[in-house]
């Protein structure tokens, strides 16, 4: 699809909005439909669309192999890290109420947001990995 100017322009136009929507779905998980898994998939899909339209080499410029690998692990580490923070703060594993962030409800809210972000990062990075690794085989 490298010569199709309409698809390229539309993709360039839509790309930031798809990502914005992905972030919105992740951040809005506590008060509306959505969450880390769904938002992560939307983020991954935006990059997959970009790679389909512009090719694998251009896609690798957007997100390199190394960055992708690091993001893969970062999400799980964020999730586990939030759990460990709860232990350090004196509670049980993943007991967000105990986090010292003012009110109990706010602490719980922030803890959930933290793990949603962790899930989102891992899911989006894994989606991108799956696409890159399987797409390259046909080359």
């Amino acid at each position: 699809m490298k010569n199709n100017i309409i698809i390229q322009i539309i993709t360039r136009l839509l790309f930031p909005f798809i990502q914005l929507f992905g972030f919105y779905v992740i951040m809005h998980g506590e008060s509306g439909p959505g969450g880390g898994f769904q938002g992560g998939v939307i983020l991954g899909a935006s990059v997959i669309l970009y790679v389909i339209v512009f090719g694998i080499d251009e896609g690798r410029k957007l997100i390199s192999e190394k960055t992708n690998d690091i993001l893969n692990c970062t999400g799980v580490l964020i999730y586990g890290g939030v759990g460990l923070l709860c232990i350090i703060a004196g509670g049980k594993y993943l007991e967000y109420n105990i986090l010292p962030l003012g009110s109990v409800h706010f602490a719980s809210h922030m803890g959930m947001l933290g793990i949603e972000i962790g899930v989102g990062v891992t899911v989006s990075a894994v989606m991108i990995t799956l696409f890159f690794e399987t797409a390259r085989q046909g080359k």
């Binding site: 692990c73 799980v76 999730y79 993943l94 409800h105 719980s108 959930m112 899911v123």
Partner: protein, 103 residues
């Protein structure tokens, strides 16, 4: 032999279909599944977790450990794909050698 298989499958199917007669109707408020922990989630989600979305409160707070496992499963899937399919320096050489042998 095939008749025996058919017989076994039919008997199992009839037994399973008979079992569904005792199941509660879809969406029945008196069903056991709606009596165990569901009322607590509905009544105390906001009080105990501070968020309005019941689904997220169950996913991230009440069943947070389970979700950690799910994330790890996805992460493991990604790592396995990298291990199996990524072209490293070693297997690049190997692939080249194989091609050389063939041609």
């Amino acid at each position: 032999m095939k008749t025996t298989y058919l017989f076994v499958v039919l008997i199992t199917g009839i037994a399973l279909a008979y079992g569904t007669i005792d199941m509660p109707n879809f969406g029945d408020p008196q069903a056991p599944a709606n009596h165990h922990v569901a009322p607590r989630y509905i009544e105390k989600t906001h009080e105990e977790t501070g968020v309005d979305n019941m689904v997220t409160s169950v996913l991230a707070s009440y069943r947070g450990y389970d979700t950690f496992g799910e994330t790890t499963v996805i992460f493991t899937a990604g790592i396995c794909v990298i291990l199996l399919l990524r072209e490293t320096r070693d297997n690049k050489k190997k692939n080249r050698r194989k091609k050389g042998v063939r041609s």
